[in-house]
Symmetry: C2
Subunit: 219 residues, 2 copies
């Protein structure tokens, strides 16, 4: 993106707005500031929360953004009217727009999107390297298929997302490893009440969340 | 199960066979041996690889076992004809039957089913305890929904499965934590090639597996 932005900057008309659809915002904002200089006010960062593990032109969907969330992370330089124009464009595609600060956006998505992708890649990678890998995958079923769906995501894109949001993702990964170590203690000590309590809390939270989802939810 | 089995044993006719549908086999075999004594030969352990995160009578599906795998873990005491009879019963429901040793079964399913359930419960539990939990779930989307589907599974049932297969599950959990620590090194050192290689290996393995799946796969 930086080379594109640098090439674009000199040709940017005063009334033109630029936005993006990247999964991380802190790195994009830094790159745009470097490339756009005092035209940075014409850039309104955005992140549509939609997509799938499939990529390329063949995976295009005309109604991809309908009923999906889009996060805008406006800059202090952005005029309110400029933000409103980008918001209206997304709303015209059927999306529901939210506003977050860029660093808050990156922390939230490290937790609910970037970490799960890393965890799914790690599980499949772990099992793929086993001597009995064919046997293991031979008995994997629907639970495994859904849990690992996002491990079929685009490797280069996810490499870039993980590196762009490295600090927040490391924080989330460490929190998750700590949670797994606590879970390990429950299991190793055969703490039936502790395990059931943890599972029940998780199920109740997830089911409550499902009830709040916009109609058909995408990535 | 032990009390049921103990109550059943005295009434078991010579020509009667008993099987089960539990997700772990080592513990079931031990319980049956204790309850059945020399009638243990009439018990053929089984595990249908089908189901969903929903439970109860309302979640019943008449074609649940069609095109699904069923694992039988016959005992040395079982007559070949007895195993064949249970196999034929499952095949009549449309299932594809495989044979494994009980301990091999428990190791395989610790890796491809029990661990993913534990990991999904752990992620939702971790995020559910955050101060900004509502914000986090508010931006969770389709990738998170599928990754955590199995965290809506039945807490008591999964408590029992985890405890019944505790040793194999601890081995898998430790292997996964080791994998996460290796992933953490790649991320912390911003190893772009290493991350992309890991993601690409995982995606290729998963996609190759998807191509081998029986028609519509369940849990």
């Amino acid at each position: 993106m930086p080379p594109v932005m640098a090439a674009l900057a000199p040709h940017l008309q005063a009334g033109t707005l630029v936005t993006d659809g990247g999964s991380t915002k802190g790195d994009v904002v830094s790159a745009v500031r470097a490339a756009f200089g005092d035209k940075t006010k014409q850039f309104i960062p955005g992140h549509p929360i939609a997509g799938a593990e499939k990529s390329g032109v063949g995976a295009a969907q005309a109604d991809l953004y309908r009923h999906k969330r889009v996060v805008l992370t406006p800059l202090p330089e952005n005029a309110a009217a400029a933000v409103a124009r980008v918001r209206a464009t997304w709303e015209a595609c059927g999306a529901k727009v939210s506003i977050l600060a860029a660093d808050e956006h990156d922390r939230v998505f490290a937790a609910v999107s970037h970490l799960p992708h890393l965890l799914a890649f790690a599980l499949v990678h772990d099992l793929a390297g086993r001597d009995n890998s064919d046997q293991l995958f031979g008995f994997a079923a629907g639970g495994f298929r859904d849990f690992t769906r996002i491990a079929s995501s685009h490797p280069e894109m996810w490499r870039d997302i993980c590196l762009a949001n490295r600090a927040a993702l490391l924080t989330e990964l460490d929190a998750y490893i700590a949670e797994l170590l606590k879970t390990r203690v429950l299991l190793a000590s055969a703490d039936a009440t502790g395990l059931e309590g943890m599972f029940a809390t998780a199920r109740a939270r997830r089911d409550a969340w499902l009830d709040t989802l916009l109609p058909p939810s995408g990535e």
